[in-house]
Symmetry: C3
Subunit: 325 residues, 3 copies
Amino acid sequence: MKIKNNFFKIQKNVYLSDILKILRKKNFNKKIKINNISDLATSSKNDISFFNSLKYLYLLKKTKAKYVITNDKYKNIVKKYSKIILVEHVLKSVSLVTKLFYPESLDDAVDFNVTKPLQEKYKKVKFGYNVLIGKNVSIGKNSIIGHNTIIESNVKIGANCIIGNNVLIKYSIIGDNVRVLDCSVLGKKGFGFLPDKNKNYRYPHIGIVIIQDNVEIGCNNTIDRGSISNTIIGKNTFIDNQVHIAHNVKIGNNCIITGQVGFAGSSTIGNNVSIGGQAGISGHLNVGNNVQIGGGSGVIKNIPDNTKVMGYPAKDIRSFIKDIK
Amino acid sequence: MKIKNNFFKIQKNVYLSDILKILRKKNFNKKIKINNISDLATSSKNDISFFNSLKYLYLLKKTKAKYVITNDKYKNIVKKYSKIILVEHVLKSVSLVTKLFYPESLDDAVDFNVTKPLQEKYKKVKFGYNVLIGKNVSIGKNSIIGHNTIIESNVKIGANCIIGNNVLIKYSIIGDNVRVLDCSVLGKKGFGFLPDKNKNYRYPHIGIVIIQDNVEIGCNNTIDRGSISNTIIGKNTFIDNQVHIAHNVKIGNNCIITGQVGFAGSSTIGNNVSIGGQAGISGHLNVGNNVQIGGGSGVIKNIPDNTKVMGYPAKDIRSFIKDIK
Amino acid sequence: MKIKNNFFKIQKNVYLSDILKILRKKNFNKKIKINNISDLATSSKNDISFFNSLKYLYLLKKTKAKYVITNDKYKNIVKKYSKIILVEHVLKSVSLVTKLFYPESLDDAVDFNVTKPLQEKYKKVKFGYNVLIGKNVSIGKNSIIGHNTIIESNVKIGANCIIGNNVLIKYSIIGDNVRVLDCSVLGKKGFGFLPDKNKNYRYPHIGIVIIQDNVEIGCNNTIDRGSISNTIIGKNTFIDNQVHIAHNVKIGNNCIITGQVGFAGSSTIGNNVSIGGQAGISGHLNVGNNVQIGGGSGVIKNIPDNTKVMGYPAKDIRSFIKDIK
């Protein structure tokens, strides 16, 4: 699913020479215009992309990106499919280029464009006390926004939603018939940065949070927005209290996520997955469809479809039960 | 302890024919009035109850309920003690009947009856800024309600309490000398629902949260109200930050619950129990009196009185220590 | 680092006779003035201190405290270095004496001195809606305070900070260029008390929270202030969402603390330490420099410098990997 969003203003008139300059590369004074930075899969032909793992070779082969940032290790492979920009640290370079295109995506400031909602603008929406709404927000009919809740600029909320009290929503698109219960925070930038001895370097986050129809999100959840791709919660998935979902995580439809579960960044969870309380899912993993993960489990590798796992580290439920006997 | 609560308006004039209709049962046009739905133990003689586990046979033998919802598996047992209503899915049917009696218990909307507190009504109570108080709230003398806190309709708070800032309290009865620290949410409906491919079916929650005298609840706690019974925190129990307590959990007196502990639904914890940080207690368990549960433990079976346990899954502390050597 | 703080008013004119009286000791009518209660390391010569573990013998040998509270077990050791006050329960007695010196440190009330910020007082600070600021607060230039945030009296915040929405800060000193993201609570009293059958006895907390330059604290964190020493987060340390840091914890510089990690009280963490999601660190431990702790680990003993650990309980990463094969 490709969602157009208005959340981050892109800088126009970025030239290859600008990019080479911030990467401290020799500048051959090439006046080539670059339109955007994007991942290999979604790049258009005047975009710049990046490659730093053989896992994504199948995407490299099809990418439309004119330039691909990579390092010494992969330069000979990348060369075959596109022009390369050779750097030492791929992710740091991607971060610098993203900042060039999206200067506001780096640091989460406070939205000072919020005001009290104008009831004439949101005729069929019911607002509690002290609600603050940003610019260019849309809210569907019969939705309710609880007391002290803040909806930042450009957020879209569907019809028949109940947003609880003390909720904060930023950089998010929310479907119909969704519940977001009290004190949850949606759309904050993810915990992605490049460590540095003196002052860590924050990684830009230009992805958003997408909550599909009929989802319920409990109290005190934190769901971070994506860095380059989006964080997605699929249709009819229900999430309990105190769950943490990091950037770029994609959760399928009809999942049941119990209290205090945590997801590290960039994992993908299938449909009909149930996860017991306090389980943790490491980053960059694939959990299949129809998977059951027992409470307290620590998932540190991919889980195939139709499996039940439990334990730390999580293993097949039968071997978990055998081992504890 | 049986607490009368005014939180959920019960529908009067519910007849057996109405119940049979929503259960899609043949309607024999019986004009029998049914007063309430309740569990086997607390039913009065014109109530309807339900049976779906042999664990509760001792309660079935003494129940006063005139009708008991059950399924094929238990029909012959239930028949001996009361009239039966035979269904395919007991919990789904109970949910439908509960919704019939308590239509407002299904979905947590926002309380739009709250307003700024009238100081003349709460003469000996001190309120912070931006406090919102519902209808029919009572607060004992010398209690303090912090800034931005919301106390929804019908809540009772005792004397000498300190309720912190940004707290949300709904469907709760709170004793004397209680502390509820900042950003905690008490009384939200539990995470109980019947999964459905297209749109999950929310389970009604007509229980409340009861906090007894001298309890301390830390910051960012979530304590959900019960579905049919209540969620209870016993006298002089102290709870640290970021603890999650699911629906129907009963915690005894003088317990110590450390940070980030989680309780799944319907477990019962004895008196003088101490639980170390990040431990998890599965659902429907009994933990005895004077039990010590080590930090990070995962409790997945009943724990007898006077035991120390640790590990995932939790076992006797001596065998835990032996195993890790 | 010794930080002078104005947070707790100390009672002047406390005499040894007052102290002996509350400890129910025979009062020899000694008119000796005592200036303060402090730990062995920081005591001045007219202070009272305490000793209840041989771990701190090296501090006892150098303490300047005139009187030291101790029990029967250690009286002969303590006698060699200072005058002793012999009690049955050392910590309870320390608590009683601390309460005598700092009567407001016991129970977290609500700060009723907060008001809307006066823009002329904070000329270069940008405030959101509904912000509340206490007395004697200082905020450096170009800092931003988000909507609904409460900064209690005496708090100091440096320059170029972003404090998010719905944040609560009390008893804290914050450096320059710090981020405190939405819904975090800093400076609450720790979860320290003396259990008692009828009514637990709260332990005074006269320490504060110190956040050094360039730190980032995520959403929904709880960072408690210290009891006698301070809770400290070192320079350029980044903390993810839903992390709990108990009283007296000291975290070094350049650490990376991922989502849902928990620290029990009084542990010390070195520099350049990275901790994976949901890991827990027990109380009173030392974790060295350059340590990596895997996600979900439970650390229950000291960890030396330059080690990688994982598991529950945490052990060397190589033996963890070997064991799970």
